[in-house]
Protein backbone atom coordinates (compact mmCIF):
# COMPACT_ATOMS: atom_id res chain seq x y z
CA UNK A 1 0.00 0.00 0.00
CA UNK A 2 1.18 3.50 -0.82
CA UNK A 3 2.44 5.42 2.23
CA UNK A 4 0.79 8.64 3.31
CA UNK A 5 3.52 10.79 1.77
CA UNK A 6 2.52 9.63 -1.75
CA UNK A 7 -0.97 11.04 -1.35
CA UNK A 8 0.32 14.18 0.31
CA UNK A 9 2.72 14.82 -2.57
CA UNK A 10 -0.03 14.35 -5.17
CA UNK A 11 -2.23 16.69 -3.18
CA UNK A 12 0.54 19.31 -2.89
CA UNK A 13 1.17 19.06 -6.63
CA UNK A 14 -2.51 19.53 -7.41
CA UNK A 15 -2.70 22.48 -5.04
CA UNK A 16 0.25 24.18 -6.70
CA UNK A 17 -1.07 23.55 -10.22
CA UNK A 18 -4.33 25.14 -9.14
CA UNK A 19 -2.44 28.01 -7.53
CA UNK A 20 -0.38 28.61 -10.65
CA UNK A 21 -3.53 28.61 -12.78
CA UNK A 22 -5.42 30.93 -10.47
CA UNK A 23 -2.49 33.35 -10.39
CA UNK A 24 -1.69 33.43 -14.08
CA UNK A 25 -4.81 32.84 -16.19
CA UNK A 26 -6.68 35.87 -17.48
CA UNK A 27 -10.10 34.31 -17.80
CA UNK A 28 -12.17 34.47 -14.62
CA UNK A 29 -13.57 30.97 -15.23
CA UNK A 30 -10.04 29.59 -15.33
CA UNK A 31 -9.28 31.33 -12.04
CA UNK A 32 -12.34 29.62 -10.59
CA UNK A 33 -11.20 26.26 -11.97
CA UNK A 34 -7.84 26.81 -10.28
CA UNK A 35 -9.58 27.46 -6.98
CA UNK A 36 -11.64 24.29 -7.45
CA UNK A 37 -8.44 22.33 -7.96
CA UNK A 38 -6.99 23.72 -4.74
CA UNK A 39 -10.17 22.79 -2.85
CA UNK A 40 -9.96 19.28 -4.24
CA UNK A 41 -6.34 18.99 -3.18
CA UNK A 42 -7.38 19.89 0.35
CA UNK A 43 -10.11 17.25 0.18
CA UNK A 44 -7.58 14.62 -0.83
CA UNK A 45 -5.55 15.56 2.24
CA UNK A 46 -8.57 15.15 4.49
CA UNK A 47 -9.32 11.71 3.12
CA UNK A 48 -5.67 10.61 3.20
CA UNK A 49 -5.17 11.74 6.80
CA UNK A 50 -8.44 10.08 7.76
CA UNK A 51 -7.36 6.77 6.22
CA UNK A 52 -3.93 6.83 7.83
CA UNK A 53 -5.14 8.01 11.25
CA UNK A 54 -5.03 5.85 14.36
CA UNK A 55 -8.77 5.21 14.51
CA UNK A 56 -10.57 5.75 11.18
CA UNK A 57 -13.85 4.67 12.79
CA UNK A 58 -14.52 8.22 14.00
CA UNK A 59 -14.85 9.34 10.34
CA UNK A 60 -13.90 12.94 11.08
CA UNK A 61 -11.89 13.49 7.91
CA UNK A 62 -14.51 11.74 5.82
CA UNK A 63 -17.22 13.99 7.22
CA UNK A 64 -15.14 17.06 6.55
CA UNK A 65 -14.63 15.98 2.94
CA UNK A 66 -18.37 15.46 2.46
CA UNK A 67 -19.13 18.94 3.77
CA UNK A 68 -16.32 20.42 1.75
CA UNK A 69 -17.70 18.89 -1.46
CA UNK A 70 -21.09 20.45 -0.73
CA UNK A 71 -19.48 23.84 -0.06
CA UNK A 72 -17.48 23.60 -3.28
CA UNK A 73 -20.66 23.00 -5.28
CA UNK A 74 -22.29 26.10 -3.75
CA UNK A 75 -19.12 28.11 -4.33
CA UNK A 76 -18.97 27.10 -7.99
CA UNK A 77 -22.61 28.05 -8.56
CA UNK A 78 -22.27 31.50 -6.98
CA UNK A 79 -18.87 32.15 -8.55
CA UNK A 80 -20.04 31.27 -12.04
CA UNK A 81 -23.19 33.38 -11.60
CA UNK A 82 -20.96 36.32 -10.66
CA UNK A 83 -18.75 35.72 -13.68
CA UNK A 84 -21.78 35.67 -15.98
CA UNK A 85 -23.00 38.95 -14.51
CA UNK A 86 -19.55 40.51 -14.90
CA UNK A 87 -19.50 39.34 -18.50
CA UNK A 88 -22.86 40.97 -19.16
CA UNK A 89 -21.68 44.21 -17.63
CA UNK A 90 -18.15 44.50 -19.05
CA UNK A 91 -18.50 42.30 -22.18
CA UNK A 92 -15.42 40.38 -21.04
CA UNK A 93 -14.58 37.64 -18.58
CA UNK A 94 -10.89 38.52 -18.38
CA UNK A 95 -9.94 39.55 -14.89
CA UNK A 96 -7.34 42.12 -15.98
CA UNK A 97 -9.85 44.06 -18.07
CA UNK A 98 -12.37 44.50 -15.28
CA UNK A 99 -10.75 47.60 -13.83
CA UNK A 100 -13.41 50.19 -13.19
CA UNK A 101 -12.29 50.64 -9.59
CA UNK A 102 -8.75 51.62 -10.68
CA UNK A 103 -8.05 55.26 -9.96
Amino acid sequence: MTPLSGYLLVSALLFCIGLAGALTRRNAIMVLIGIELMLNAANLNFIAFWRFSENPETMTGLMFAVFSIAIAAAEAAVGLALIITIYRHFRTANVDQVEEMKG
Binding site: M30, W50, A81
Partner: protein, 165 residues
Protein backbone atom coordinates in the same frame (compact mmCIF):
# COMPACT_ATOMS: atom_id res chain seq x y z
CA UNK B 1 3.96 2.78 -4.22
CA UNK B 2 1.58 0.51 -6.06
CA UNK B 3 0.88 0.44 -9.76
CA UNK B 4 -2.79 1.52 -9.58
CA UNK B 5 -1.84 4.47 -7.40
CA UNK B 6 0.91 5.49 -9.83
CA UNK B 7 -1.43 5.32 -12.83
CA UNK B 8 -4.25 7.24 -11.15
CA UNK B 9 -1.92 9.85 -9.64
CA UNK B 10 -0.18 10.38 -12.98
CA UNK B 11 -3.51 10.76 -14.76
CA UNK B 12 -4.80 13.18 -12.15
CA UNK B 13 -1.74 15.41 -12.12
CA UNK B 14 -1.31 15.28 -15.90
CA UNK B 15 -4.90 16.25 -16.57
CA UNK B 16 -4.69 18.98 -13.93
CA UNK B 17 -1.69 20.47 -15.75
CA UNK B 18 -3.61 20.24 -19.02
CA UNK B 19 -6.65 21.87 -17.40
CA UNK B 20 -4.56 24.83 -16.35
CA UNK B 21 -2.45 25.25 -19.46
CA UNK B 22 -4.61 24.53 -22.53
CA UNK B 23 -5.78 27.53 -24.56
CA UNK B 24 -9.28 26.39 -25.42
CA UNK B 25 -11.51 26.82 -22.39
CA UNK B 26 -13.73 23.84 -23.19
CA UNK B 27 -10.68 21.61 -23.45
CA UNK B 28 -9.61 22.93 -20.06
CA UNK B 29 -12.99 22.05 -18.59
CA UNK B 30 -12.88 18.54 -20.08
CA UNK B 31 -9.39 17.94 -18.67
CA UNK B 32 -10.64 19.19 -15.34
CA UNK B 33 -13.31 16.49 -15.42
CA UNK B 34 -10.57 13.91 -15.88
CA UNK B 35 -8.83 15.36 -12.81
CA UNK B 36 -12.02 15.05 -10.78
CA UNK B 37 -12.47 11.45 -11.91
CA UNK B 38 -8.85 10.71 -11.02
CA UNK B 39 -9.37 12.17 -7.57
CA UNK B 40 -12.40 9.93 -7.15
CA UNK B 41 -10.12 7.02 -8.05
CA UNK B 42 -7.65 8.10 -5.36
CA UNK B 43 -10.51 8.23 -2.84
CA UNK B 44 -11.43 4.68 -3.80
CA UNK B 45 -7.80 3.68 -3.23
CA UNK B 46 -8.17 5.13 0.26
CA UNK B 47 -11.28 2.99 1.03
CA UNK B 48 -13.52 6.06 0.92
CA UNK B 49 -16.09 4.60 -1.50
CA UNK B 50 -18.90 6.91 -0.46
CA UNK B 51 -16.89 10.10 -0.87
CA UNK B 52 -15.43 8.83 -4.14
CA UNK B 53 -18.83 8.29 -5.75
CA UNK B 54 -20.15 11.51 -4.24
CA UNK B 55 -17.20 13.26 -5.85
CA UNK B 56 -18.19 11.85 -9.25
CA UNK B 57 -21.86 12.70 -8.74
CA UNK B 58 -21.20 16.28 -7.62
CA UNK B 59 -18.14 17.24 -9.63
CA UNK B 60 -18.47 15.29 -12.87
CA UNK B 61 -22.25 15.42 -12.90
CA UNK B 62 -22.89 18.96 -11.69
CA UNK B 63 -19.92 21.31 -11.22
CA UNK B 64 -18.37 20.54 -14.59
CA UNK B 65 -21.74 21.10 -16.28
CA UNK B 66 -21.96 24.50 -14.55
CA UNK B 67 -18.48 25.33 -15.78
CA UNK B 68 -19.12 24.41 -19.42
CA UNK B 69 -22.40 26.34 -19.36
CA UNK B 70 -20.59 29.37 -17.98
CA UNK B 71 -17.89 29.03 -20.65
CA UNK B 72 -20.47 28.91 -23.42
CA UNK B 73 -22.38 31.85 -21.96
CA UNK B 74 -19.39 34.13 -21.55
CA UNK B 75 -17.47 33.88 -24.78
CA UNK B 76 -17.55 32.80 -28.36
CA UNK B 77 -16.23 29.28 -28.65
CA UNK B 78 -13.17 30.19 -30.76
CA UNK B 79 -10.13 31.25 -28.74
CA UNK B 80 -8.87 34.66 -29.81
CA UNK B 81 -5.26 35.52 -30.56
CA UNK B 82 -4.56 37.18 -27.27
CA UNK B 83 -2.40 35.97 -24.40
CA UNK B 84 -4.22 33.55 -22.13
CA UNK B 85 -2.17 34.52 -19.09
CA UNK B 86 -0.92 37.57 -17.23
CA UNK B 87 2.55 37.61 -15.62
CA UNK B 88 2.98 33.85 -16.11
CA UNK B 89 6.49 33.54 -14.75
CA UNK B 90 5.84 35.15 -11.39
CA UNK B 91 2.79 32.95 -10.79
CA UNK B 92 4.60 29.78 -11.80
CA UNK B 93 7.59 30.69 -9.65
CA UNK B 94 5.32 31.24 -6.64
CA UNK B 95 3.59 27.91 -7.27
CA UNK B 96 6.86 26.00 -7.66
CA UNK B 97 8.31 27.47 -4.49
CA UNK B 98 5.10 26.65 -2.65
CA UNK B 99 5.30 23.07 -3.91
CA UNK B 100 8.95 22.72 -2.92
CA UNK B 101 8.19 23.95 0.60
CA UNK B 102 5.30 21.53 0.99
CA UNK B 103 7.19 18.61 -0.55
CA UNK B 104 10.17 19.16 1.76
CA UNK B 105 7.85 19.36 4.75
CA UNK B 106 6.07 16.16 3.73
CA UNK B 107 9.24 14.23 3.05
CA UNK B 108 10.94 15.40 6.24
CA UNK B 109 8.04 14.62 8.54
CA UNK B 110 7.79 11.16 10.14
CA UNK B 111 4.01 11.18 9.60
CA UNK B 112 4.49 10.60 5.89
CA UNK B 113 6.05 7.18 6.44
CA UNK B 114 3.04 5.96 8.34
CA UNK B 115 1.41 2.87 6.88
CA UNK B 116 -2.33 2.48 6.83
CA UNK B 117 -3.85 0.29 9.50
CA UNK B 118 -6.11 -2.39 8.02
CA UNK B 119 -9.75 -1.50 8.29
CA UNK B 120 -13.11 -2.95 7.41
CA UNK B 121 -15.65 -1.45 5.08
CA UNK B 122 -16.88 2.02 5.96
CA UNK B 123 -20.54 1.64 6.71
CA UNK B 124 -22.67 4.29 5.04
CA UNK B 125 -25.25 3.67 7.74
CA UNK B 126 -22.83 4.83 10.44
CA UNK B 127 -21.96 7.83 8.31
CA UNK B 128 -25.62 8.76 8.03
CA UNK B 129 -26.19 8.26 11.75
CA UNK B 130 -23.22 10.50 12.52
CA UNK B 131 -24.60 13.13 10.16
CA UNK B 132 -27.88 13.08 12.05
CA UNK B 133 -26.36 13.10 15.56
CA UNK B 134 -22.82 14.47 16.03
CA UNK B 135 -22.80 16.52 12.85
CA UNK B 136 -26.39 17.69 12.75
CA UNK B 137 -25.51 21.35 13.24
CA UNK B 138 -23.04 21.47 10.31
CA UNK B 139 -25.63 19.60 8.26
CA UNK B 140 -28.32 22.19 8.96
CA UNK B 141 -25.91 25.05 8.31
CA UNK B 142 -24.99 23.35 5.05
CA UNK B 143 -28.63 23.08 4.04
CA UNK B 144 -29.09 26.78 4.76
CA UNK B 145 -25.94 27.64 2.83
CA UNK B 146 -26.97 25.59 -0.20
CA UNK B 147 -30.40 27.21 -0.26
CA UNK B 148 -28.88 30.67 0.10
CA UNK B 149 -26.30 29.92 -2.59
CA UNK B 150 -28.98 28.67 -4.97
CA UNK B 151 -31.19 31.71 -4.46
CA UNK B 152 -28.17 34.01 -4.68
CA UNK B 153 -26.91 32.42 -7.88
CA UNK B 154 -30.33 32.66 -9.50
CA UNK B 155 -30.79 36.31 -8.51
CA UNK B 156 -27.28 37.33 -9.56
CA UNK B 157 -27.46 35.62 -12.92
CA UNK B 158 -31.04 36.70 -13.66
CA UNK B 159 -31.17 39.10 -16.58
CA UNK B 160 -31.90 42.67 -15.57
CA UNK B 161 -35.15 44.00 -16.93
CA UNK B 162 -34.83 46.56 -19.71
CA UNK B 163 -34.31 50.10 -18.42
CA UNK B 164 -33.55 49.11 -14.85
CA UNK B 165 -29.94 50.16 -15.19
Amino acid sequence: MTLPFAIIAGLTVGSAIAAMSLRNLVHCALSLVLTFAGLAGLYLQLNAEFVGFTQILVYVGAVSILIVFAILLTRSTEPKDEPATVTPWIGIAVAISAFLTMALAVLASPVGKRAASPMGEVSVKTLGQKLMTDYVLPLEVMALLLTAAMLGAVIIAMKDKEGSR
